[in-house]
Structures are given as structure tokens and as C-alpha cells.
Symmetry: C2
Subunit: 166 residues, 2 copies
């Protein structure tokens, strides 16, 4: 388990997708502008997210990215491990000086901690952040501030339809 700014970018971008999930795909240009990350860097991140089957790309005008699964079924741990590719867990097997020595003992203890951490993050879904009252309305306001008018309009329409249905 590893956690850097890259992981944060991945998670916040996925949160953005999740918020607009019902309002169609979100373009990387939008996310780039809103979150202040360069477009090409985002493309690299999303290449990983796509390979991990977390998102789907839709080409052409009106395209963008959307979640490949409902936000309820996407957890934080898989986002982070998709983006923040795991570094060499240890130098254990590579060097010969670790055959049941102290390095292995603390390494095992670390692995245990690492697994606990993973399970913890695997228990948190995107939906837990996004599906709560008021957050979609808030997102519409924010989108307008950021000049994401199309996204804001689409989302507002969806909200209105939902209200009518209920």
C-alpha cells in the first residue's frame, strides 16, 4: 500500500465522475480545468484507471469518461492501487541476506499493517462520499462557477426528473 498525490488525484477525479454519474460522461478537459491538473497528466492517470476497468472512455463530441460500475461498487483501495502502482514491497527476496532474519520479521509486521490498511480503504466506497443529501445540488452550483455549464444543465435536468418521479 502506498499513497501519494497521484492517489489523491485519482480519487478526487473519480469523485468528480461519481458526482456527475447520472449526467453523462465528464471530459478530462473539464477535470483538468477544475482541479488544476494538466490534461496530459490526467490522460495518463485515466489510462491506468481504464486498464483497471474502473472507468470507460466515450470518444467524440459529448464524450468523456464515466464510471464503469456504480459508485456503490467502487472502493477507494482499488482506485489507489490502480493509479499509485505498488512499489517493490521489500528488498527481501532480491538480496540474499534476508533468510528469516530481522528484516523479514519487521517486514512481516509491516505487511500485516499494510493489509489492514488496504482492507480499511476497501471498505470505503465512492458512493459513501457522493450519495448524500445536497451534494448534487452543491455540485451544480460549483459547476456553474467553474464554467461547466453543460454538465450543470444535464445534472439539473436529471435531478428534476428524479423529483418528478418521486
Amino acid at each position: 500500500m502506498r499513497l501519494s498525490t497521484k492517489g489523491r488525484y485519482g480519487v478526487t477525479a473519480m469523485m468528480d465522475l461519481a458526482i456527475h454519474d447520472n449526467a453523462g460522461p465528464v471530459t478530462l478537459a473539464d477535470i483538468s480545468q477544475c482541479q488544476g491538473i494538466s490534461l496530459s497528466y490526467l490522460e495518463q492517470l485515466f489510462s491506468k484507471l481504464r486498464k483497471a476497468k474502473l472507468v470507460e472512455g466515450v470518444r467524440g463530441p459529448g464524450g468523456g469518461y464515466r464510471l464503469s460500475r456504480p459508485a456503490e461498487d467502487i472502493n477507494i483501495a482499488e482506485i489507489i492501487s490502480a493509479v499509485d502502482e505498488k512499489v517493490d514491497v521489500t528488498r527481501c527476496n532480491k538480496e540474499g541476506n534476508c533468510q528469516g532474519g530481522m528484516q523479514c520479521l519487521t517486514h512481516d509486521l509491516w505487511m500485516e499493517l499494510s493489509e489492514r490498511l488496504y482492507s480499511f480503504l476497501a471498505g470505503i466506497t465512492l458512493a459513501q462520499f457522493v450519495n448524500r443529501p445536497g451534494i448534487h445540488e452543491l455540485a451544480i452550483q460549483r459547476d456553474k462557477i467553474n464554467g461547466r455549464f453543460i454538465l450543470a444543465r444535464r445534472q439539473a435536468e436529471v435531478l428534476q426528473q428524479q423529483r418528478k418521479a418521486s
Copy 2:
């Protein structure tokens, strides 16, 4: 919250200290040899751990480092934040384009996640890894393999005294 190899080094080194807590200070040269980290790099890490009041240095022959508090009172979160100094949490306030916009929304959601993560790690103590049956005996064996004979002997003595007392 951030978590890189630096954090792992910090935590595993602290685990090593915790295991030998009753057997006097542990030298960085020992840790360096056992865990395969360079001495000077460890010195830099321990400089941070010392400033965070997590360890105490003992100079001179027979010296080394020891925990400044019992392992029950040291949690993983504080070790990681001592070593893996927190990077710019966001670019929010620095740029002017984030005044209640989408960036701030996902930023807030990220901060919430980050705090949950911190609390989780703050709830795990060093002692939970070290104070369990058999681990000290195992450490003595491992120390012998690694040529830490002095440490192994001291620890064996402590264990024997504890057995007599009980």
C-alpha cells in the same frame, strides 16, 4: 496523509526499537545492516523521529536509540506523519481559481477521507504488533542470524528475568 517507502522505513525501524525496548538502546548501524538501509539515511529519518519526540538518542558506546514512550502510547499515524512530512494538502488557497468551486468540493471530500485514514492509523499502536506471545523469542533468533549478538544476549537476559519473576 501520505504514505511512501519513507513511512515504511520509519514504521519498521520503530518496530525494531519496540521489539528491543526492554533490552536497551539499538544502534542505527544495527538497523542499517538488518533492514538494508544506509546509515546516513537512517540518521536523517531518526532526526525527524527525535524532533517528533518519538525516540531518544543515547550517545557513546552502548548507546543507540530507544522509544521515548512505551510502545502502547505510540501509534502508527504519528510515526508516518513525523517521517513522511505532509506535502501541500491542496493547491486551493494558492491559486485564485478555487473559490467554492468544484475543486474545493472534491478537496473537502478528500480531506474527509484523509482524516478517516489518519484516525484509523492513529488507532493502531506499535505495541499491537510487538506485544504478543513468541515475538521476543523470535526476535532473539533473528538477531543472532543477523549478527546482533549483544542485542540478542541482552534481550535473552531480560526474558529470563521476567520468567523468574513470574
